[in-house]
Symmetry: C2
Subunit: 419 residues, 2 copies
């Protein structure tokens, strides 16, 4: 799209009360707007990134057999009372709202209860398994302190998948399939190398859960990392017994800060028992369904990418999640031939389905370059008097900045190869 048409602009400053790096950069670059603490709207550039991350997650969930649905924010108390999770003393971050005098509804902070109720309508025989169901949907959590930008919001987009299986073996198998899918997701979103599967507390039904922790000084979690084995141990389960069970030695581990960008969890019968989700086994007896759950915060992944890769000049987007693949910048200096040439390159990229943001604005070159650095599109093409007279365009990468002259006929091939 033409940048002159985009309604957002870069800003010199983020709001004064904004302390998180991710929010500061994203606000300055016009990707998000802060509505209040922990509540952010996504503007055109930001929504493009959010959707790309969501689509990567969607593709990998579909690839392991996930079926997508969309549940509701509004939650009626009944099913949550059955599992003991309606009480604010048990779950302290409910948003609740009054439907009519004295009748309250909750805003979903998680969706085990309503999904289990749905599944009781569709699951009855041992032949109905395994099943995996997920959604990419907005969660609400009444966080009292929300100061981490889009890393921890009061309202945020989350992918939550739930698996339904017959026995522990199937539960373990699906858990591993999901773990492999998560590795793919974080690799594709550009933070795979700094993300480590980490042993964490498993709650009441299994010894451990698996977290995916991205190394980052701004992270809220402390993990103990074995880099070679590519495995971490969350501080919450870091003790001699656990280390010995996992075959890890204290001396080999590194204490690091990290952001939890995904978790997978064996729920067992925690929800199927109180809500009566059963099936008839092959001998006709009723058995409780076993469940696992698999979460990723879509906005949190986006914020983590900013925390990890953003530099002093601004955002740096990996290719698969960038708002546009190419930032085309014209430096016309009032020369109509340069403008015509830039227009031509813009049309050629569009005709070849290359997503391009075209900075066709009538502003100084320095402002265009600074904005380009702040917005962080991975590949930049510059058309100027210099490049036109040399018969090409200047191509550079946001991540290293070194420019090379590329003849117009080679542009497409170079962009393909850089993918």
């Amino acid at each position: 799209m033409r940048q002159s048409q985009l309604f957002t602009r870069t800003r010199k400053d983020a709001p004064k009360d904004e302390v998180a790096k991710n929010a500061q950069l994203l606000i300055r670059a016009g990707f998000i707007h802060k509505e209040m603490a922990g509540v952010y709207s996504f503007l055109p550039l930001g929504l493009r990134v959010l959707n790309k991350i969501a689509n990567i997650i969607r593709e990998e969930m579909n690839a392991i057999g996930g079926q997508e649905i969309l549940m509701t924010a509004l939650q009626e108390p009944e099913i949550w009372k059955k599992t003991g999770r309606w009480d604010d003393a048990v779950v302290d971050n409910w948003f609740k709202t009054e439907l009519s005098e004295g009748t309250f509804l909750g805003l979903g902070h998680s969706h085990e209860e309503p999904l289990v109720r749905i599944m009781t309508q569709y699951v009855s025989s041992y032949k109905d398994f395994p099943k995996a169901v997920y959604q990419i949907q907005t969660k609400f959590r009444r966080e009292l302190r929300a100061k981490s930008g889009i890393l921890r919001g009061r309202e945020f987009l989350m992918k939550d998948m739930y698996s339904f299986v017959r026995d522990q073996k199937e539960l373990d198998e699906f858990h591993e399939r999901a773990a492999k899918a998560y590795v793919k997701i974080f690799t594709r979103t550009g933070i795979g190398e700094r993300t480590f599967r980490t042993f964490a507390s498993g709650g009441s039904f299994s010894k451990f859960s698996d977290e995916f922790q991205m190394l980052c000084d701004a992270g809220e979690d402390t993990i103990y990392l074995h880099r070679e084995k590519k495995v971490g141990v969350n501080r919450e389960v870091y003790n001699d017994d656990v280390l010995s069970e996992l075959g890890l030695k204290k001396g080999d581990l590194e204490e690091v800060k990290a952001i939890e960008i995904g978790n997978i969890f064996k729920l067992g019968t925690r929800f199927s028992e109180p809500l009566g989700l059963t099936f008839k086994d092959d001998t006709g007896n009723d058995q409780l369904v076993l469940m696992g759950c698999y979460g990723i915060g879509v906005g949190r992944v986006m914020g983590s990418i900013v925390e990890a890769l953003g530099d002093e000049k601004g955002l740096v987007w990996p290719k698969e999640v960038a708002p546009f693949a190419v930032h085309l910048i014209s430096i016309t200096g009032g020369n109509a031939d340069v403008e015509k040439e830039a227009d031509r390159v813009y049309e050629m990229l569009q005709e070849n389905d290359i997503e391009v943001l075209y900075d066709d604005r009538d502003v100084r070159a320095g402002e265009k370059f600074a904005d380009g650095d702040l917005i962080g599109i991975p590949t930049r093409l510059i058309v100027s008097e210099k490049t036109v007279s040399a018969g090409g365009v200047e191509l550079s990468q946001r991540s290293n900045g070194k420019g090379t002259l590329v003849s117009e006929s080679d542009i497409l091939e170079r962009l393909q190869n850089d993918k």
Copy 2:
């Protein structure tokens, strides 16, 4: 996808308290799940339809220059107090929720206020116009009676676009562009022929608004329709003065029930004034921005399609919004050759990017046909002993049911031509 893998199934009955035709059929066919009155989750087949409608709307909004964003449900009181819309006595369908002792947030039922606040950051000069911004986002409205299925929900997906312009002429121009885009949307979703642009009350800032009313006995609105002129008058503005202004005669009009599936509205300075959205004109003077708004309920369009086209056997989806283009049904009768042939057709369709639901279940033919009718996919292909021995498949349309034998090599061409 293979229907044997789909976790939903058809049901004989909808919940007893469900009175709306759209919800009854959609629940029986496994498209939606009723969480409570006016609150529905979308299951895999239903979500596919919802997304297709949303994407048609998105494409047509992008085509008239709309820029997509995603605002939040959580709303802080401050900006709504400035426009006088926080008070429950003024807006009676707010859901509100307590953030901390005595501090309430609202759940957005509309988004003029937060978007105007965003625009104050980005709009300042007469050169910044016109702009159109939209989102496809979940609204919350505390409807006291919610008994129309997904036609009127307490939580529902809506497309709301807002235009920002400098003067009345630009406002009128964009209004007409939006009206044309709406006609395209309703044509593409298969209900264009029964949908009529209708004069309705314009509120305080313009004489009329435009509603798009789909004729339907289950509709809540009464309109007076001039079929030839393709124009309606909502009962709320139906009087002699208005008819004479519009050049319509009572005798030419037909009283009909209809569902409002879209509306476009000139807001003028209703929101820009209290929230201070101004721009410098070309003489350097501050001017108030003029606004229009353009809404479509995505779920309401889906429910309206069901109300209009559903028959005694079930759902009937127009091609562009159908969950799958083709319902492939195998009637093997235990014959492995038939199964092999059906598998082959399934693979061929998938390889050619034709969305297909493959009923590979081990159930009676009658059950497959009844389920097929209920689910309502437009084109059906049947593979049976009869069709295999005749060297082809049987092709029929959900809307008329007449089957013809098509040789396997002609299937793709026939499906293309039927588009």
